[in-house]
Symmetry: C2
Subunit: 305 residues, 2 copies
Amino acid sequence: MTFKVIIFGCGAATPTLQHHPSAQVVNLHDKLFLVDCGEGTQLQFRKYGFGFQKISAIFISHLHGDHYLGLVGLMSSMHLLGRKQKLKIFGPPALEQLIRINLELSSTYLDYEVEFTPTSDTEKILVHEDQTLRVFSVPLKHRVFCTGFLFEEKQRPLKVKRDFIEEYQLMPSQILLLKKGEDVVLEDGRIVTCDEVCVTPPPPRKYAYCSDTTYLPELAQMIEGVDLLYHESTFLESEALRATQTFHSTAKQAATIAVMAKVKHLLLGHFSSRYRDDQLFLEEASPIFEKVSLANEGLEIDIPN
Amino acid sequence: MTFKVIIFGCGAATPTLQHHPSAQVVNLHDKLFLVDCGEGTQLQFRKYGFGFQKISAIFISHLHGDHYLGLVGLMSSMHLLGRKQKLKIFGPPALEQLIRINLELSSTYLDYEVEFTPTSDTEKILVHEDQTLRVFSVPLKHRVFCTGFLFEEKQRPLKVKRDFIEEYQLMPSQILLLKKGEDVVLEDGRIVTCDEVCVTPPPPRKYAYCSDTTYLPELAQMIEGVDLLYHESTFLESEALRATQTFHSTAKQAATIAVMAKVKHLLLGHFSSRYRDDQLFLEEASPIFEKVSLANEGLEIDIPN
């Protein structure tokens, strides 16, 4: 089952030709979620061949322009191109007003329903749940209200191997019992155990998006054990003071969080435009945390089973 | 003296990889003005090598996303990159509130002054004047409050030829009189006439930006005789009904306005994403108005003396 992240933008606030502002698509079991929506995100959808009408929910971390200024344009284009399906939006409480006022003042009336759910910057809360996943907002520490997002795949049910279904001529009701972990007695008295005939699904996977934030040790326990962590690294350690002053992190700090949270894979992003060579971030983080990658526009990163 | 228009975006509302949303820079005597500011305009500045801090004023036609959604991001980047110089903004009255709320809710406090001047959609009004030009907003007819903009170069003063200054040993006070069109009597009694020693400057040039609008014959007299007219041609005649319904124009209608207004050069833009080949707009307009060009991203179009 698919679980991957596609990077549309991993630059910081000021515009460059090297990186786009923050936006990424999370594909979980072929359901698409958009995380942050910097200016130009709708064009990135076109560039990378993703239909934005397939997006069922959008998660906005905070209200700095490079994380949300593409949202109203995207919503407007969804409308112009005939969207009828409800769109769920999760973000800071003020985002709801911001969307409403932008749409009102530009006389844009959407043909589809928007369901807004506010996040919290004081505690980790469950904001979205469906059959296959849970999404939590996770408080971060930035100059303004800001949260990360934790995508948790739900435990998939046990699966009865096809060979055994035929061999034992299992009925649907018996298959259901076996998938619940129970044993089944056949008509001839034989006992079929769950252990014998079921495949145990792989453990559920987790992805955490944490941008923007100052170095925040208490974040580690909230995202502990995730398979993939996207953590901002706006600066290098040479600019550590500036990172603290602007409530951002360095590559070293991001790697330290990855160690503390025992994550499997660290993906660095939100690179300041002052650096011409992204490899510097990799060089700074690698000695602290081994499995680290650099975000880049167009990168698709799988979260394997 | 420079007078040219640089196209940053000439597409219509929905995003394509072919065209960017509306934005263009007017360069008059090396002063830069931005006209409309669709999403991604700040990146277009980078792409085409223009510093956006040099922009002294921004003119917004109307509050449809493809004409203004890049504005707050651009203003925010101007701040982040250290702007102190005042920024003048001209646009629909609601734009002022829209900017204020966007900045407030995203906790963005600008380090430079913003001076907002509302346009009018009922009459042609002078909105900006300096030593070298006047800018008028011109009412258009669209689904929402919308204006075009007319940039009028001021008549440059007469210039006394250098050779004559030396020949007649003219004093600064005498030069001033000659530049005002008066004659001067030298100490030896000779009369120096303005006609003899002055160069007449070329007539002042005019540029009109008209997007978005339905076919509007009364527009012609408001922009009569402009050297260059940028007129929207969202559709072709085959979609004339749709053009009327959505308050847009066809290429043929744009050309008809150019004829009625006796303009020198017509520049078509705001092309709907439904057409793959922009040449179709040229083919439709050319039989009606001879000197017609197609806008395209990166195009610099001179308005010659």
